[in-house]
């Protein structure tokens, strides 16, 4: 079978996974939970770009960004990159949920 080179898909472009693997849920790795101060947030999206687990959902005009705590490992990169200090890390056991 021959495939013309124009038909070959560009390398690395795979659809994002649609199914969850229960063994790969990483929320229980977290020792510190990121908390957003929506007043300070400038929606620069640096945290969204930097998050290694894609656990930050961008808000729109009416809502601020949220964290996907099912997968957030609490690495703290969002806290490090935030230029205005809008994301703080709070010990996970301060929350009862």
């Amino acid at each position: 079978m021959t495939v013309p080179y124009e038909k070959i898909p560009f390398a690395g472009t795979v659809p994002s996974p649609q199914k969850e693997n229960e063994g790969m849920i990483t929320g229980n790795w977290r020792t510190r939970r990121p908390i957003l101060d929506a007043e300070k947030c400038t929606s620069c999206q640096l945290c969204w770009i930097s998050c290694p687990d894609s656990s930050i959902n961008l808000g729109d005009e009416t809502s601020s960004l949220t964290f996907n705590l099912k997968y957030c490992k609490g690495c703290g990169i969002c806290n490090e990159v935030c230029p205005v200090g809008a994301i703080s890390l709070v010990p996970e056991l301060d929350f009862e949920d």
């Binding site: 790795w29 020792t31 490992k73 690495c75 056991l93």
Partner: protein, 217 residues
Amino acid sequence: MTSENLFEEPGLKQITVWARGVYENKEARDVVVALTEAAALEGKHVQAWENYVDLPDRIYVPVRAYGKISDQVIESRYVYENEVPDIVVLTEETLVKGIDILAGIKPGGVLVINTKRSAEYLLKFIKKDTLNLSRIVTVDANSLAKSIITLSGAEGATDASGIGKGMGAALAAAVVKATGIVEFDSLLKIVANKSAAKKAYDQAVVYDYVKTLTKVI
């Protein structure tokens, strides 16, 4: 596990230590190695090893280290996970949340937690098997010694940093205080950080647990 216990050994005590990957790997290993080496000094049969199934080198991933101490020859020496632990140790308090840390714990089991918080508060997060517990111990090991972050001693290599150099020594001392599994003097001969072990032996708070908590020491 089958309903029939193939390896029922009356003299055998199993120790399971839960820790966070990479930055507490050595401390988890040190707790079991210090306790088993101390038991070996007393002429017991011992084993200490780490869980091979856990993802060992990812930061914050829950990992386990195991120890076995027995009066007799350990028949189940090739069983590579502790399925029915007697003692469970957490090197970090957040491990109570979202992880089945007490899985398979025997009736009369002991839980040791490295924390500043109260045992009452932490118990709220543990959903399963708490009725098998007889004692809960809290000790603030982080205030007594640091966690040593090193790959020395990982995967069977020689540990150049010394057994019980960090806060693992304090946790091992808390285990000894609550269970008396070895003599405290034997433990002191093994661990490098003797001052942390002594302070933890004094400061560890021991609670008896029979459906509710009672502070005893």
